[in-house]
């Protein structure tokens, strides 16, 4: 990635504009990262694969007799949870490539010599990764619409998916960037991120017939993905109010705050050149 940015403001006169310039640099990095993601076709290919998966699930939900016993609200819930989960996975994969990918491709040096604060670099990369989440959410709208029409839950389902998904995506995107900054190899970074996501998804796959004691409850509440998806279910399927199970959103919120905070605080130290994997 190559960025052309004006030199940083120096002196008292320019000091007033420092904040605004920092913000504009963040936007410059974000714009460049988004351009890299979307004009290279990488983002669109991920979106295409996402839509194929979502089409499969929607088609099965609407036709398969074994699944057709589901109430329509449960079908909407199933597809929405799938959309959030895969959308977050795509965000994590893109953010896991953020720093380690630049290191591996040898473009991090060029990026570091540009007059852009390292925090802006990290922030820009996070925004670019989140753009993929927003795109997957946009793609999932017609699928949710086709299942939710006639039940009167379309607006609620979309608002829920957007809020919960964005919260989880910010948290996991930040974690992905932290992992990426700590890893020398892109393969290690992506493998570690996917492994982390699998660990987080595992509790959501436990059969509902299993005895669910306090340990399961702790596991559910400590897991940002599982608790976020449980919050969606509680409102869409069980018909709870927005505030009734709000405690389920504590972990996704804390993850976003802690991981995002760690990224802002430790990011400048983590984004640095290291000895490459082939230099030994």
């Amino acid at each position: 990635m190559t960025i052309q940015v004006a030199p940083p403001a120096v002196g008292t006169v320019q000091g007033v504009r420092a904040g605004a310039e920092r913000q504009s640099r963040l936007l410059v990095v974000a714009e460049q990262e988004c351009r890299d993601l979307w004009t290279s076709g990488r983002g669109l290919i991920l979106l295409f694969l996402f839509s194929v998966l979502l089409s499969g699930v929607t088609y099965l939900t609407s036709t398969n007799q074994a699944l057709n016993f589901l109430e329509q609200r449960e079908s909407v819930n199933l597809v929405l949870q799938f959309a959030v989960a895969v959308g977050v996975l795509a965000t994590l994969v893109v953010s896991a490539d953020g720093i380690s990918g630049e290191r591996e491709r040898g473009t991090l040096e060029t990026l570091l010599v540009t007059p852009v604060p390292r925090r802006s670099i990290i922030g820009g990369k996070l925004i670019a990764a989140l753009s993929l989440w927003f795109a997957t959410f946009l793609v999932s709208i017609p699928y949710v619409w086709v299942l939710a029409r006639g039940v009167g839950i379309l607006g609620r389902a979309l608002a829920l998916g957007f809020c919960v998904g964005t919260l989880v995506a910010i948290g996991l995107g930040s974690i992905g960037l932290l992992i990426s900054a700590a890893c020398n190899s892109n393969k290690t970074s992506i493998a570690a991120s996917i492994f982390l996501l699998l660990i987080l998804f595992a509790p959501t796959q436990l059969p509902s017939g299993l005895p669910q004691g306090w340990f399961f409850e702790v596991l559910l509440r400590a897991n940002p993905v599982a608790s976020g998806l449980a919050y969606i279910s509680s409102i869409l399927v069980e018909g709870h109010g927005w505030t009734q199970d709000l405690a389920l959103l504590i972990t996704p919120l804390l993850t976003a705050i802690i991981a995002g905070g760690a990224l802002i605080l430790a990011g400048p130290r983590l984004v640095r050149l290291t000895r490459g994997v082939n230099s030994e």
Binding site: G41, I45, L47, S55, N68, F69, S208
Partner: protein
């Protein structure tokens, strides 16, 4: 002294011998289920209530009420766990006491079914030859329903990946052409 010693020995021997198997008293409980008939559609949720009363003169001890579902027409495969994830409730009743238990059920197959609750003794003192107490059948009639159809979802299922695939192919091809021009 000798007599006392003999009596003590006899008592010790009798105490050491295993107790003869006692005839197990039948459970003195009565189970009533409500409603007697349920009509619903595939995927529909409904609730049945059972009232268990201890009709005996002694406490029931620990007992277990267990819900079961069986198909009574055709050859529909029934997995009761799919119908209700919480199918067992443990309780104990004093003489004359009764307890109402609710069972939340979701109809996951279409057809004609019977739901019933069986009461069994519970705990490690169960000998294994006790009689069971069963509620009357709740007749469940489940009509098939197709809430979603392939026809309704097909345009979205086909068009969205098609458009995104074309867009992705276009962007990738344009990028390659630009690379070749340079």
């Amino acid at each position: 002294m000798r007599v006392a010693l003999l009596i003590t020995l006899l008592v010790a021997v009798v105490a050491w011998l295993p107790a003869p198997a006692l005839a197990t008293a039948p459970l003195s409980v009565k189970v009533v289920a409500e409603p007697p008939h349920v009509e619903t559609v595939l995927g529909g949720r409904f609730m049945i209530t059972t009232e268990i009363t201890n009709t005996g003169t002694a406490p029931s001890g620990e007992i277990l009420a267990h819900l079961n579902v069986a198909s009574i027409e055709g050859s529909v495969y029934v997995d009761p766990e799919d119908w209700s994830p919480d199918r067992s409730q443990q309780l104990s009743l004093q003489p004359g006491e009764s307890r109402k238990l609710s069972w939340e059920i979701q109809a996951v197959n279409a057809g004609h079914f019977a739901a019933y609750v069986v009461v069994v003794p519970f705990g490690n003192k169960v000998a294994g030859n006790e009689a069971l107490v069963i509620s009357p059948l709740v007749d469940v009639d489940v009509a098939s329903k197709s809430t979603l159809t392939a026809g309704g979802a097909l345009p979205v299922v086909v068009m969205v990946p098609l458009l995104l695939g074309l867009a992705a192919a276009g962007v990738v091809l344009r990028g390659r052409r630009r690379g070749q021009d340079r």
